[in-house]
């Protein structure tokens, strides 16, 4: 899985590309979040548009990111999840933990509303 970062407003968008399956991905993800929080960036949008699928270990990676930004006083939301991924979030009730947006604009705005 590849991760690229960009900033929009007061949010950091992580564009993921590939499959989210644990293993080496977990370490990459943890490093990215650690460095974001060190820089005081704690409002994170995870863009799942180019994520073809995810397994339960991949969900764990998202949760670990969620936990670290929440601890730092920020939040994590996802956007552009496919139907397949949406239904996994629904079944695992993780849709109650992190909000899922269809439009980037709305995902970015979600932080402004909260703070």
């Amino acid at each position: 899985m590849k991760i690229t970062q960009r900033e929009v407003g007061n949010a950091v968008i992580l564009d993921l590309n590939g499959k989210l399956t644990g293993g080496p991905d977990a370490d990459t993800f943890r490093d990215v979040f650690k460095s974001l929080i060190d820089q005081g960036k704690k409002n994170v949008v995870v863009n799942l548009e180019k994520v073809s699928w995810i397994n339960s270990t991949g969900l764990g990676i998202l949760i670990s990111g969620y936990t670290s930004v929440r601890r730092a006083g920020g939040d994590l939301v996802v956007m552009h999840a496919s139907d397949r991924i949406e239904s996994i979030l629904y079944v695992t009730k993780l849709n109650l933990l992190f909000k899922s947006y269809e439009a980037e604009e709305d995902a970015v705005k979600s932080f402004t509303a909260a703070s």
Binding site: K19, T21, G22, G23, S52, W53, N55, S56, T57, L59, G60, I61, I63, S64, T67, D83, R84, S87, I88, Y90, V91, T92, K93, L94, L96, L97
Partner: protein, 147 residues
């Protein structure tokens, strides 16, 4: 299970890198057998989950251990089995128990996902490994609400 000739067998090493190929094969085959996109997503998700567990918990990523996936499509259902070379686990109490982990827990959602996206899920220890057998009935789309 219909004609025994109508099955595809995928044999992979205990490496997550191969999961994408398994997923891609199921997706294509399910489409070929006219499953709806929702049903295709459900079977792929359940099967990838079973394979992930076989690689991680069953074979513990051992290079010399294999995971064997058998796919069978017929006119009204899809069935599959995933076989590892591991020690198995106490699946009866896992299945009977409460499979909903703490919302913040990073693990423990695999069985829940497999149950939600299939119509039947069965575990069996034989031939030196765990068989996970799952079935999806055609036209029965969407995740099931949990009991």
């Amino acid at each position: 299970m219909g004609n025994s000739g109508d099955q595809m067998i995928l044999n992979i090493p205990s490496d997550l890198k191969y999961l994408g190929a398994v997923d891609a094969a199921i997706q294509d085959l399910a489409r070929e057998f006219s499953f709806s996109q929702d049903a295709i997503n459900d079977v792929s998700t359940a099967l990838i989950e079973a394979c992930s567990n076989a690689i991680e918990h069953g074979n513990r990523f051992a290079r010399d251990k294999r995971v064997v996936v058998t796919l069978r499509f017929n006119s009204n259902s899809f069935s599959a089995s995933v076989k590892d070379e591991g020690p198995g686990f106490d699946f009866q109490s896992a299945v009977d128990g409460n499979n909903t982990p703490d919302p913040m827990s990073e693990r423990g959602r695999g069985l829940m996902i497999m149950q939600a996206f299939t119509d039947s899920l069965n575990f069996r220890y034989a031939d030196g490994g765990l068989y996970v057998e799952l079935t999806k009935t055609r036209g029965d789309e969407g995740p099931e609400e949990e009991a």
